[in-house]
């Protein structure tokens, strides 16, 4: 177990180094940072001095190490556009994105898992067929279109939901939450559905496929032959085995939910990191772009790590240190 975690940690570090290289390359080679900082009338000498002061004339590896060193401490420099530390901007925006992603993930799981179970257990029911049709739509419609359609129906036509923003938020320390006010919760509904719909259909299809697979296994047949109730067989034995791979995939999807929040945040003008990134692109605000990239990658890597460890905890076969015992031989 310990060696497993250490090995996975090393892999994670490797991935982060590669991502940091990309982030650094953005910094160093896209546009000229000096041009971005100084005015038109700055003299050539002043520019060169600034370049020297900022260490931009150092060899690339030295600059890279400095970039990594700063990034590890959460220092991504100043935003060209806002003139404030990028880290501060991200910290400000992070709660909005994380809360939205969390809500989307919960929606996807709470709706997707039961739908998947239903379509696997009662394959012929009309509800199962309806679910499958809906999921087909969910998978084929692009996110922005779903968002716009939801806005059109529920915000414009019916007027039930706000069409943009986070509603009222409550500040708890540095964290701003929309979960504590009615308007905050209401504002979260449409974006969360938009962001979670794709994952929901994915989870539903995954649960369905896995469950059908598990229901065909010998141990399910044997569980039935032992006379266990349909409930014990379906929800005890089958579901638990179904959820092992589902946990992995869902966990991995959480990273992409955060990454895909860019589109949803843009459609709903949701003041999160994704929107910040979109605006940064418009202004070629490299520090913000690089920081966002590194941050999202770090999230991905961290989530993968946690999921792998969870996986080991759920599945006893993967736990190291349980060799075969007892005589009698095997096959």
């Amino acid at each position: 177990m310990a060696t497993f975690i250490v090995r996975r940690l090393l892999q994670s570090v490797l991935v982060m180094v590669v991502v940091a290289l990309v982030g650094f390359a953005l910094f160093a080679y896209v546009g000229d940072p000096i041009n971005n900082m100084v005015g038109q009338d700055t003299s050539f000498e002043d520019r060169e001095r600034l370049r020297e002061d900022l260490g931009l004339n150092d060899p690339a590896p030295v600059q890279f190490l400095r970039f990594v060193g700063n990034a590890v401490q959460g220092d991504f420099g100043l935003s060209y556009r806002h003139g404030r530390p990028v880290a501060d901007l991200l910290v400000e925006r992070a709660p909005a994105t994380l809360e939205l992603s969390f809500a989307a993930g919960v929606f996807a799981l709470l709706v997707g898992v039961p739908m998947g179970i239903h379509t696997a257990l009662w394959r012929q029911s009309w509800l199962a067929k309806a679910f499958l049709t809906i999921s087909l739509i969910g998978i084929s419609l692009p996110t922005f279109l779903i968002g716009i359609l939801l806005i059109l129906v529920f915000a414009v036509w019916l007027g039930w939901m706000p069409s943009f923003g986070r509603g009222e938020v409550v500040q708890i320390g540095w964290w701003s939450t929309g979960f504590l006010t009615a308007s905050g919760l209401k504002a979260m509904v449409l974006p969360a559905i938009t962001l979670g719909l794709f994952q929901m259909t994915l989870i539903m299809r995954l649960v369905r496929a896995e469950m059908l697979e598990v229901l065909r296994t010998d141990y399910i047949k044997f569980a039935r032959a032992r006379g266990l109730s349909a409930r014990a067989v379906n929800f005890g034995h089958a579901l638990k085995n179904t959820l092992v791979p589902v946990i992995t995939i869902t966990g991995l999807q959480l990273g992409s939910v955060i990454a895909f929040a860019i589109i949803t945040e843009t459609v709903f003008q949701w003041p999160g990191m994704g929107l910040l990134f979109m605006q940064a692109i418009e202004f070629v605000d490299i520090p913000v772009m690089a920081a966002y990239l590194v941050l999202v990658a770090a999230l991905f890597v961290m989530i993968n790590l946690v999921v792998d460890i969870l996986y080991v905890i759920v599945d006893p076969r993967l736990r190291i240190g349980g060799g075969a015992v007892g005589g009698g031989g095997g096959r």
């Binding site: 141990y219 044997f222 032992r226 006379g227 034995h237 095997g330 096959r331």
Partner: protein, 326 residues
């Protein structure tokens, strides 16, 4: 004759397909009396497993019983609803399947699977169920059972797992166990151990066994009576001694040639031309006639009934021609 424990009459199992129904069990009738071991033999694909599955109501959809009846202690089984089956499966009929490596749920400990089964059938507390589980594990010959109770299935070897599976089948002391090739997936060296264990336990508990296998050697050692299946049909049944030593059906004769240590017979099955037909390609008349060295005109057109001429009952126009019905 003693009152039948299990009585199967003219069982027909079909799998509907787009190209018509596949008849995988075709008019099988069997009886098992309390405490006896009935061996069911036949080549792979003969319909042995489907017969067993039909008896415990676990045919894989869309497979279904289209005709015939199954009675256990006088109660009709083939018409039971899903809920009613639960009083039968595990409680009155236990099952042991071929592959012990896949028969246990990998995510639950052996003890948990045992207590769960015990508590489904017997009114016991968790503590009592654990005690019974321990007792069962000891009975099936798991060493240091107390330590193994909380072990995971993957920590057991194949032979040990099959012992656990047998313990699971015995949880509620069923009257009948259907054992479908219980040793086929195991090392040759431990096949005999497991067969002997099954036989000993069932004798001790007075449990009858329907032992499905394609191995005549296992049958000769274990069974009291034998039923031989070919292409979904029963071709011959009778007491093991008579059937092994004085078979009438040419197919049984061929099967006997496959036991190396028993009486050396000139006809070996693999020397008979051809292979058993698939359910879709069963010829008219006797299903065995294209491979039969004795086939006559009548065998190609009329299906021979199972005719009882004690001690055997045989379905063959040449060897058992008299009588019109079984």
């Amino acid at each position: 004759m003693t009152e039948s424990l299990l009585s199967v009459r003219d069982l027909i199992v079909e799998f509907p397909t787009r190209r018509g129904a596949l008849r995988v069990v075709d008019g099988v009738s069997l009886d098992i009396v309390p405490g006896e071991v009935l061996g069911v033999v036949g080549e792979s694909g003969a319909g042995k497993s489907q017969t067993g599955a039909a008896i415990i109501g676990l045919l894989e959809p869309p497979g279904r019983i289209v005709d015939g009846t199954v009675h256990l202690e006088g109660e009709r089984l083939d018409t039971l609803s899903g809920d009613q089956w639960r009083r039968v499966r595990g409680r009155r009929i236990g099952a042991v399947f071929q592959d012990p490596l896949t028969s246990l749920n990998p995510l639950y400990t052996v003890g948990r699977q045992l207590t769960e089964t015990i508590r489904t059938h017997l009114d016991m507390t968790e503590k009592q169920a654990r005690a019974r589980a321990l007792e069962l594990l000891g009975e099936v010959g798991i060493p240091a059972a107390a330590d193994r109770l909380d072990a995971w299935p993957h920590q057991f070897s194949g032979g040990m797992r099959q012992r656990v599976v047998i313990a699971l089948a015995l949880c509620a002391n069923p009257r009948l166990i259907i054992a479908d090739e219980p040793t086929t997936a195991l090392d040759v060296s431990i096949q005999a151990q497991i067969t002997a264990l099954l036989k000993r336990l069932c004798r001790e508990h007075g449990t009858a066994v329907m032992l499905i296998t394609h191995d005549m050697g296992v049958i000769a050692e274990t069974a009291d009576r034998v039923a031989v299946m070919y292409a979904g049909r029963l071709v011959e049944t009778g007491p093991v001694d008579d059937l092994v030593n004085r078979p009438r059906h040419p197919y049984t004769e061929g099967l006997m040639g496959c036991i190396p240590t028993m009486h050396a017979r000139p006809v070996r099955l693999d020397q008979i031309e051809g292979a058993m037909p698939a359910p879709r390609a069963v010829p008219p008349g006797c299903a065995f006639h294209p491979r039969c060295p004795l086939a006559v005109e009548r065998c190609t057109s009329e299906r021979p009934p199972l005719v009882a001429r004690p001690p055997l009952a045989t379905a063959c126009w040449v060897r058992s021609p008299d009588g019109d019905a079984a």
